[in-house]
């Protein structure tokens, strides 16, 4: 039974349980609800929760465990000869799955009957032709052992699905029975339901942890895999980045890191002065009208998606810079995509980020400090430079670090604006590439996930994750420490 209908059935059982339990509770007190411990609906909810939670939990776990278990079963049953020298067990297993899924599809489309599909033999029938009719293309004719494995895969998965349906439905009914047995006038249904709801709230809150765990595991798993086939010393020691999917590629991280840091540096050189002065002006000088107009308008820049900035870099800023610094101008630039292009545009993107964070921090400096400074005869700018900024400095540093972490993790602008060549160069008008841009280029396309050229993306992702996480933790701790100072 498809998962969708099974889920609907569980929900239906829960609804029935709700009605039955509610009725039973009312019947227990002859319809006089004042003698119940809880409101009647709570008895119903108790039954519904006891149906839904265990049944869906089992369904979820089953859906994850069954494919893994089947893989090990089938792989164990495969004869050693099935795995030839130029392939791996994983490849053979994916063939098995593809054939099995294709046969299922063919049956579903009515190309062959179920009994024919079960009795199909590699020699007798054109398996490849049948599958091609069903829309599944195979690279070569089907090996008999693979076909046999696919057949046992199909029968196993049929048994597994049937068992799952039965087990999940039984559990749902058992939950309903349990809840109905519990339902008496004295039963504290509200307390039980509230405990259940509270557990669900806790689970929702834990999804944040699960996400982090998922990120860390998916990165670590594949990074370890990468370092098994590509030496870590080369990854961290080599100064060239030249992947070639044919093999023999050099995957040194330094050119990418250099490109990332160089572009981020230029972005910060644009964003920090503009953002900081804008924040100072808005919080210290601007009248309420100017502030009410300029602050939200500047923050519009932060609401624009990065793809827009990417396109802006590629199609507007790049050609503009090329006309000034290219062959017609100073002849420093070869193409529109360059460190300068990406850096400038990224700087524009970061202006509101720096300005609104610094604005908050400058506003948090107590007015008494300014008044003290004015009392000593300082002008407003002297007060700002010598009192307000030093007092706000830790917070501003935190804001700049946050902006830097943003710049390092930014993808679309560099993918479109920075170019694709990995270079160690000092010229900001040359095309360079970044960690994020290379993650995209190594993982898009039809790369084989087992090759070092694709797996390197996970090692790059790991590097990126660690750098941005470190910057964030540092920045947040600085900001927090500073905040405590004045509170």
């Amino acid at each position: 039974m498809p998962v969708f209908w099974l889920s609907l059935l569980i929900v239906a059982v829960a609804a029935v349980g709700f009605v039955l339990a509610r009725g039973r509770a009312l019947a227990a007190v002859d319809g006089d609800r004042r003698h119940l411990h809880s409101l009647p609906n709570y008895y119903g909810w108790n039954a519904a929760l006891k149906v839904l939670t265990p049944a869906f939990a089992l369904l979820f776990v089953w859906l994850i465990v069954q494919p893994i278990w089947m893989n090990t079963q089938i792989a164990g049953a495969l004869p050693d000869t099935a795995v030839s020298e130029d392939s791996t067990l994983a490849l053979v297993m994916s063939d098995v799955r593809r054939v099995a899924d294709g046969l299922d599809l063919a049956v579903a489309q009515g190309i062959i009957s179920e009994t024919n599909a079960a009795a199909i033999e590699a020699g007798a029938t054109d398996v490849r032709g049948v599958l091609a009719q069903a829309g599944v293309a195979l690279g070569s004719d089907v090996d008999p052992t693979v076909l046999a494995a696919a057949q046992s895969y199909r029968s196993l998965s049929g048994v597994g699905d049937a068992a799952m349906t039965v087990a999940v439905l039984l559990l749902a009914l058992a939950g309903m029975g349990w809840a109905l047995r519990q339902t008496t006038a004295e039963f504290r249904a509200r307390n039980v339901v509230e405990q259940g709801v509270r557990a669900m709230l806790l689970f929702a809150a834990s999804i944040a942890i699960l996400t982090t765990v998922g990120i860390v595991f998916s990165l670590i798993f594949n990074t370890v895999e990468f370092f098994r086939i590509y030496p870590a010393s080369d990854f961290f020691g080599s100064l060239t980045w030249s992947p070639s999917f044919g093999g023999g590629s050099e995957l040194g991280i330094w050119p990418l890191l250099w490109g990332t840091l160089y572009i981020s540096l230029i972005a910060l050189l644009v964003a920090v002065p503009i953002g900081l002065f804008a924040a100072i002006y808005l919080s210290e000088y601007a009248g309420s009208k100017v502030r009410a107009f300029a602050k939200p308008t500047l923050e519009l820049l932060a609401g624009i998606p990065t793809i827009v900035y990417g396109l802006f870099a590629l199609l507007t800023v790049g050609p503009l810079l090329l006309s000034a610094f290219g062959r017609d101008g100073l002849n420093w630039m070869q193409a529109g995509t360059a460190v300068m292009t990406a850096g400038l545009v990224m700087g524009i993107m970061l202006i509101p980020f720096v300005s609104s964070l610094s604005d908050d921090i400058i506003n948090a400096v107590p007015q008494a400090m300014r008044d003290g400074s004015y009392g000593l005869g300082a002008t407003q700018s002297e007060t700002i430079r010598q009192v307000v900024i030093p007092a706000a400095l830790p917070g501003i540093v935190g804001a700049i670090l946050l902006a830097a972490s943003r710049a390092i993790g930014e993808t679309m602008i560099v993918v479109l604006g920075a170019g694709a060549a990995a270079r160690l160069s000092l010229n900001p008008f040359e095309a360079m590439t970044t960690v994020t841009a290379k993650i995209v280029s190594q993982l898009t396309g039809d790369a084989d996930f087992a090759s070092p050229e694709a797996l390197v993306a996970f090692a790059l992702g790991m590097t990126l994750f660690i750098i941005t996480l470190g910057l964030n933790v540092l920045a947040l701790s600085i900001v927090r420490k500073y905040r405590e100072q004045y509170e």
Partner: protein, 451 residues
């Protein structure tokens, strides 16, 4: 009078009036002015960048909403389209677009000859460069839908070729045509003549907004409609998952969480996830949903799941803020009349916080709608979104693109005609974002309560 006797010994500054500024004060005042000027300059720079960005979007993108069309009378020749003459739909379907192309070329050539336009192009085949490759499919669809009109002459508004469109929009110039094998200078002369005759004209292009993407060589017929649907289904997933999970998580953290290590761990995780680069979420989606769970590549459901995880921290942070803004007296009153803690929260605090929660959710959705980087990793580019999903389930499970991914895809294509489409796509995307943000602002204005 000892003071008077001391007076001459005092510094010369003391004798000067406060009314005139000395050099030092002047310097300080100048520094003050300069400093202020820097601030103004910074604001102006920021606003200037915004204006440049917006003008470059509007200036480059508005033309995508106009498209060059050829209005022409096509004779639906029964000898070519229905050889058997029995108007059987299956027989008509057998005629491929190649059968229709000459009819259209004849029709356009007829427009030229009937108006006595002088041109060195003297055969119907020479009209090919003016007509879009997708015009034949348009006529074929019409004939299949209306088989009884075979044999009549029907007026069609067919797409002009991308180069003709570019010529009318000042993207293709006469100087460049010499190197272009798709079109010649004679075609441009003919285009000019047909424009003044009213046969070729720019008109509003609905198929850019609602149409589907086209292959690389047919920029003139590419539209954003299918990927818009892809984005819509993704946003549906985000809304259905992120709103309840985010609200539940915030209620737990704000109202029930005890002060312990586990709560701290959750809090640290949420604030860190909010700052993780979006591309890392793409890696997560690739590894967990596609490699591990074997969900289909390029499917809106995977994109929706990834964007859900990405927007959850945003939604949680804003929901917590709006829960916090409900004053404790509400909770106390509810508890005082005998409500349980859970009832106080779900019956009283949550409804009062709802406008704030919805505002935060809409802003989170807007952020998710514009996000591109994670979608690149789960296969939403490189896929040409030409087919509308068949139904609700296939909307989630079938490969599709998304608006920002489609824009990226267009920006990557070699034909400059696609750049205009990319900018146009950005205008549509920004209109959506602007609408969402306006709704959020209106919600806040309408329902915000000051306690």
């Amino acid at each position: 009078m000892s003071d008077a006797s001391l007076a001459p010994a005092a510094s010369p500054r003391a004798r000067r009036s406060l009314m005139e500024t000395d050099a030092h004060t002047a310097k300080r005042n100048a520094a003050e002015k300069r400093f202020r000027l820097y601030g103004v300059a910074a604001i102006c720079a920021g606003l200037f960048f915004l204006v440049v960005l917006l003008t470059s979007i509007l200036g480059n993108g508005l033309s995508a909403f106009q498209q060059t069309f050829i209005t022409t009378q096509v004779f639906l020749d029964p000898a070519k389209l229905d050889k058997a003459g029995n108007r059987d739909p299956d027989d008509i379907r057998k005629v491929s677009t190649f059968g229709y192309t000459p009819l259209i070329q004849n029709a356009v050539f007829e427009e030229v000859t009937s108006r006595n336009i002088e041109t060195p192009l003297d055969s119907a085949k020479d009209m090919k460069a003016l007509i879009s490759a997708s015009a034949a499919a348009q006529v074929r669809d019409f004939v299949i839908a209306n088989p009884d009109r075979i044999g009549e002459t029907v007026e069609f508004r067919i797409l002009a070729a991308s180069r003709v469109d570019g010529y009318l929009k000042d993207r293709v110039f006469r100087e460049d045509v010499a190197r272009d094998k798709n079109i010649d200078a004679e075609h441009l002369d003919l285009t000019d003549a047909l424009v003044s005759a009213g046969v070729i004209a720019k008109q509003f292009n609905t198929s850019f907004i609602f149409g589907s993407d086209a292959s690389e060589s047919r920029a003139e017929s590419a539209g954003l409609g299918v990927s818009m649907l892809g984005s819509f289904f993704m946003m549906l997933v985000v809304l259905v998952l992120a709103l309840p999970i985010g609200v539940a998580a915030s209620i737990y953290l704000e109202e029930f969480a005890p002060q312990n290590r586990f709560t701290d761990l959750i809090e640290v995780n949420i604030s860190n996830l909010a700052a993780v680069p979006s591309i890392v979420f793409g890696i997560l989606g690739l590894a967990v949903f596609i490699q591990f769970a074997h969900l289909p590549q390029s499917a809106p459901i995977v994109g929706g799941l990834v964007l859900t995880l990405m927007t959850l921290p945003t939604i949680i942070i804003s929901t917590r803020a709006s829960l916090k803004s409900v004053p404790p007296s509400i909770r106390d009153a509810a508890l005082g009349v005998g409500a349980s803690k859970m009832q106080a929260v779900f019956h009283h605090v949550l409804p009062l916080a709802m406008p704030g929660i919805l505002t935060g959710t809409i802003i989170g959705l807007a952020q998710a709608l514009g996000e591109t980087a994670p979608l690149l990793l789960i296969g939403m580019v490189g896929y040409i979104a030409t087919n509308y999903p068949d139904g609700f389930v296939s909307g989630f499970m079938d490969p599709n693109s998304a608006m920002p991914a489609q824009i990226y895809e267009w920006a990557k294509r070699a034909d400059p005609a696609y750049y205009e489409r990319a900018w146009g796509g950005i205008i549509i995307l920004l209109v959506f974002l602007l609408t969402m943000n306006l709704i959020a602002i209106l919600l806040r204005r309408r329902f915000e309560r000051r306690w």
